[in-house]
Symmetry: C2
Subunit: 216 residues, 2 copies
């Protein structure tokens, strides 16, 4: 099974997460079945892509009525979720860190932010939406006590290099990096660099290209 799962491409994993949010919303509205082309239309992709993704995870369905929404949600849950809830820490409680914490807390996900970290005396010891903020000096202890496996980096970019050693020493297994500094760690730690500036510059680039092509 581990080997089968390992063959699922990153982009499929992203889409499964997206399908699931759509399916959960359908389920809430009392929709029991959905056709692949409807699911595809909502996500701006082709029905072939949806069917290919679901084939990759071994899901087959009664095509007369479309996919059973509830069954498909359960199926995706089994692929994406751990049996135990995964605990997440946020490093850096500036505007972005606070926004991310409040955003996730309101989502009812299986992934839960359970601790925040900062070095600012005004923030350490306070709580943000019931999440306690600890000093980075206690990072390793808190990670161990709270069984945290993933951290979100929303610290100032310039301190990122100082965070590498504490993150490795604490045994963190996944890093979602929102800063502008690339985060390089040894193999075995999952890192996703997710810099907002990069994506905005990309959108701006393709807007410019479209304009230039229209002017030609």
């Amino acid at each position: 099974m581990a080997n089968l799962r390992n063959t699922i491409p990153e982009k499929t994993i992203e889409r499964l997460s997206e399908y699931r949010r759509t399916l959960l919303s359908c389920h809430k509205q009392g929709i029991t079945h959905i056709f692949s082309h409807v699911l595809a239309g909502i996500h701006g992709i082709t029905a072939v892509q949806v069917r290919r993704d679901l084939m990759l995870i071994g899901f087959s369905s009664d095509t007369k009525k479309g996919y059973d929404v509830k069954v498909l949600i359960e199926f995706i849950n089994n692929i994406l979720d751990s049996e135990a809830a995964m605990n997440i820490g946020v490093i850096g409680m500036g505007h972005l860190g606070q926004a991310i914490t409040k955003y996730f807390n309101s989502k009812g996900l299986k992934l839960r932010i359970t601790a925040a970290f900062d070095i600012d005396p005004a923030k350490v010891g306070s709580t943000i939406d019931d999440i306690p903020c600890y000093h980075m000096d206690n990072f390793e202890d808190v990670v161990s006590n709270k069984d945290i496996s993933i951290v979100i980096l929303s610290s100032p970019t310039k301190v990122v290099s100082q965070l590498v050693i504490p993150i490795i020493n604490a045994g963190i297994k996944g890093v979602l990096n929102f800063t502008s500094a690339p985060f390089n760690v040894p193999q075995g730690i999952v890192v996703e660099n997710y810099d907002i500036t990069t994506i905005l510059e990309k959108v701006a680039y393709f807007v410019k290209e479209n304009e230039e092509n229209n002017n030609n």
Copy 2:
């Protein structure tokens, strides 16, 4: 030139944006030259990838001393940036919208957030870091008066479908969508769906996979 540029893949555009931030930071520190393998190491990729990206944009360099940092920054500027600054509007001034606005304002980019939009009477008419917040009813007028070409969506997910028509009517050319709802618009508008939940669920999935593989 337009045709040459159109052949640049999305991932290369993302990396060019990332290289530029590293190069700007080098320049600030007085570093005048950088080797491809050093730039590659910072970004956790291979030197071959860096050289391939720069070849794609037609940049060649004196390899004895490495790339000239200042020249390469200028070269990337010419590829990525518009001649005029691009103006950006943010729709939805909740925690995430405010965090994004404050984050970008402090970056000194050529892309500038010049207007915010909301429907909450407590926010409309206020300013956030000197950015005025307008009512969505005035969206089209403000976009036209302020020459806004890109919007960032940080509204509640459930209102996204109501934003499609105003965004098309106002002539917006690019959308960076932070909500959990896919944003589908006609061709000709650049859309980047950038849902934080998806990325976090992806990191969690690969963390789980690593653990399962280690236990086998």
